[in-house]
Symmetry: D2
């Protein structure tokens, strides 16, 4: 079966690399979109089954456009995630020598991530920011720039070669991408899943956040991420993006989400999906290989036993 | 319909007063038993439908024989509770004047509760302890004592009169009694109920008790009592008697008990039953008149809404 | 130096055994007292430097007379504790054979603790309760009883011999005794200490007990015991006896106690003292040999570093 | 006395408005800087006593450049904050009529905040983004644009007039600015203060964030804001920006910060400073007028009493 993937374009970016990793070996059609909102709208309108957008950078933090769109835009559901190592190469036209490089371009965030390499190897070159790394590569192909900082996979696309690889200063930077689709039943639990929600506080009484965390902790559910974002109403009003280990189909997660639902003014379920491995290597597995660390007394079996016990004491004392 | 009540005898004690309060206006047959264990065994063996025993004194604390029997004896279920004011009268044979009283008897705990009155009014009288207040009253009837400290209701039983009433120093002492029966479905929720359980700790890791309390707190269930008792195994091993507001049929209580069940090595359900009013007056209502203070976001309606929401996100995202 | 020890008498009981264990090899004078209150009053009045009373039984639980006296009587300070194994022997006059034993006596709690041995070895003997095990032994010496259940150390006192030892059914029963003195600076920390307090709740708002436990937990202090006792005012009002690991001189314990003091209507400090070993053997060490398990980030060094950091940011930002 | 204020320029922006509000009526010299880092470096290098930068928008959330610079750059201390309403006017050259406006410019974030007004009043005008609102106003002055979205205070600076005021869609948007200086003793407590810190987790064990929150909650300190930011090391590693009510000089805040210091791998103190009022009006007071809501049992008096009590029991039991 063939799927259409909308993604934050243009071609040749790390997002497109995420599409390849998420798509596996099957057939797929990839549709680059001009913005995060446009990518999600393509899914919402049915022009693509899946949309791929960045959600979090290990260097820059949450991608606010994605977070806000997921929180308040028309609902879509996360069905997969992938971690893409942010590995830069210096791309140039074939035949270019390092000494020839007088101008270097790339996305504005690329330059600080390669600062040391540039200072050591191209101290005289001028930096010229571009709309995306891919756009800089295209400018190299067109002769407007001498070299571009981009993923090595962009070279073939624009007929370039890599003068140098691994030119980034920090070798463990990674960006997390998610694939979204129209809301439907979540993918089956794999044993290593994550669940994402947005919690809107009913009020900001002291301890409100602690009450939220308690809903997870006292049911043995481990959080992997919590990020506050303003609601836009006024300073001091936040909503919380929460990722936890486990799948909504599991008892402990379901009960924690119900608890959250009761104490919050609203909760938006963003999805349960296989957890991406924490690999920094190039071949990031599509689904995680680390089984979720189930905390003591929180397995589905233990929830089931407790439910059976409750049913018994309710009926026969 | 007529019920047989076994109770901790003999006749004429505060326990028999509890039987009257619990039994309402209906027909009942009351069977005095020689001990707490004998009372419960009478229920276990089917010789009585209900057993009435003291469980807690506002002055003396938990009645350990009752607590231990409920925790580890063959299971019975608490189906009602009542609070009986501990109000002493000085009973004597008709015609006796206060000046005539040279000897006073009663249960050993009666004397310290009336110490100030005795010192002021009978400074010369000898105190002679008896097996029960009722036993002292009987000795008065038989001429072995001049007066007895007992409930005023014991007077008629033994042909005595009250020389003085309200001779106790503290005017708000109260004893809590429970009625137990063979395990069966709990009485219907009344809107003002209590639930009692015994929790056995899986281990004594730091914070174990806090984890137990959290199971209630994070589901909006209020505790009314917690008492630790040794398991008998070694110093430092305890089981906890916990009373909470609400009925096992309610969602918040059910979920809290399931949580308790998961994190404890064992939980014994002792019953859900109407809460006794906190009245100090003689006419203690059989069922409480104070509706349970449901904490925010913890009503059955809110639990139901959350469950419906969970079912929806599990099936359609 | 010689100390006078008041203790709950009479001679020949387990409490006297506790005095021996607490007193070490030094000279001491032991004064048996008729009650727990009388023992403490002897210390309060200066007739003895130390008073020894039972505080907790691994079988029976807290000794309420001791707890209540410590909580509301004139203040005394716990300065030591000891665990005494409850090991019964069958004592008789020299020359008595087991077949000769027709009557057996002891404290009322002794009989159930030796039930199985008695059933197997003296099925025909009558049980006659006494005021204390020692009193039963005395009656044996005087010929009123054939045998007594008592500690083997009572034999010599009354000129008796042990017909059998270890006649108790459960071989790990133990009673915890404390030594108290007039309030003064606590003994020096040993590295394995305990601290005891009584906490009086300001009110019984939901979560009050959890707030109390949190004062310890969030400062890395482990609780070893918590027991609720009624205040005597009305059903539902309790005070809590709390034992924690560590010494009041330690920063984490001091800060936890200050937190407790702030949130409670009152806190009574009962003392810091060396923890008794959890040994079941006869030679229980006076001070524990297990170093307190200091939780992460809760050592005095870490508290000191944090205090120095705070002083710095307060003065220079 | 005259102060030099470095601020994120250019002139005519909301940041400059913040400088005016922070500077009061005294003399001041304001130095516009090209970036947040440059602004802070001007303070670090001693070229200005104070630096003013945006830290949080009620619409956009935390200003990551400011947060990251405060967390890991050379230390500076926040000494004041101010809330500036984000109120846009449409500025044009004198004599311009609304009908004449064919092009409108401003900072990229200005356009979405005035979308509805623009659609209703200037549906045909082209939007041309500028480096800042002030830059757009300058372009209007120079005739390159017809109108600019900017604060009304920018009009005088560039010889413009306001064709319309309050053209923003949402009337309660506000940006929070802070003034920083070289680390020194914090300003005196005013009774309505805030304290800001950055907490670096020692590890990401389950419950780590709850432990952090507990350090505040169990000492009665209310949080006003918590924001997670990646450390840059890898996905799943965060540091937390925490604002709480109160001043580091207060006992409850000091103790909470010490607790945080102990359980975190590191804590950076960012400052204690007067809390800005939550006013949406133009005349935002420099220091808040709402006294901090001190939680029960958490006043300095209660901390002092507890400390005195602790000193007493440590010395005399």
């Amino acid at each position: 079966m063939s799927y259409r993937y909308a993604y934050l374009g243009p071609r040749g970016t790390f997002t497109e690399a995420a599409v390849r990793l998420l798509g596996g070996d099957g057939q797929r059609e990839a549709l680059p979109c001009p913005s995060i909102q446009a990518t999600l709208d393509t899914v919402r309108g049915g022009q693509a089954e899946l949309g791929v957008v960045p959600i979090e950078s290990s260097v820059e933090g949450g991608v606010t456009a994605t977070l806000d769109e997921l929180a308040v835009g028309t609902e879509v559901a996360i069905c997969a995630e992938v971690l893409v190592p942010v590995e830069f190469a210096l791309l140039a036209r074939p035949g270019t020598r390092l000494d020839d490089v007088k101008t270097v371009g790339g996305h504005p965030v690329a330059q600080p991530q390669c600062r040391r390499w540039l200072a050591a190897n191209l101290p005289q070159a001028d930096w010229l920011p571009a709309a995306s790394n891919s756009d800089a590569a295209m400018q190299v192909a067109e002769g407007q720039l001498d070299a571009a900082l981009a993923g090595v996979f962009a070279a073939e696309l624009y007929g370039l070669v890599a003068l140098a690889t691994d030119v980034h200063d920090r070798d463990d930077a990674v960006t997390r991408f998610v694939a979204v689709r129209l809301p439907t039943a979540p993918p089956e639990p794999t044993g290593a899943d994550k669940t994402s929600v947005v919690a809107f506080l009913a009020d900001d009484h002291p301890g409100a956040l602690m009450d939220i965390l308690g809903q997870f902790a006292f049911r043995g559910v481990n959080l992997t991420r919590i990020e506050s974002r303003p609601t836009g109403e006024r300073i001091g009003r936040y909503r919380f993006f929460i990722d936890c280990e486990g799948h909504v189909a599991q008892a402990r997660v379901g009960e924690a989400l119900m608890g959250l639902k009761r104490i919050c003014s609203d909760v938006r379920f963003l999805g349960s999906y296989p957890e991406a491995g924490d690999s920094q290597a190039g071949n990031v597995p599509r689904s995680g290989n680390r089984p979720t660390n189930v905390m003591p007394n929180a397995s589905d079996e233990e929830f089931l036993e407790a439910a059976q016990w409750l049913a018994r004491i309710r009926s026969v004392g």
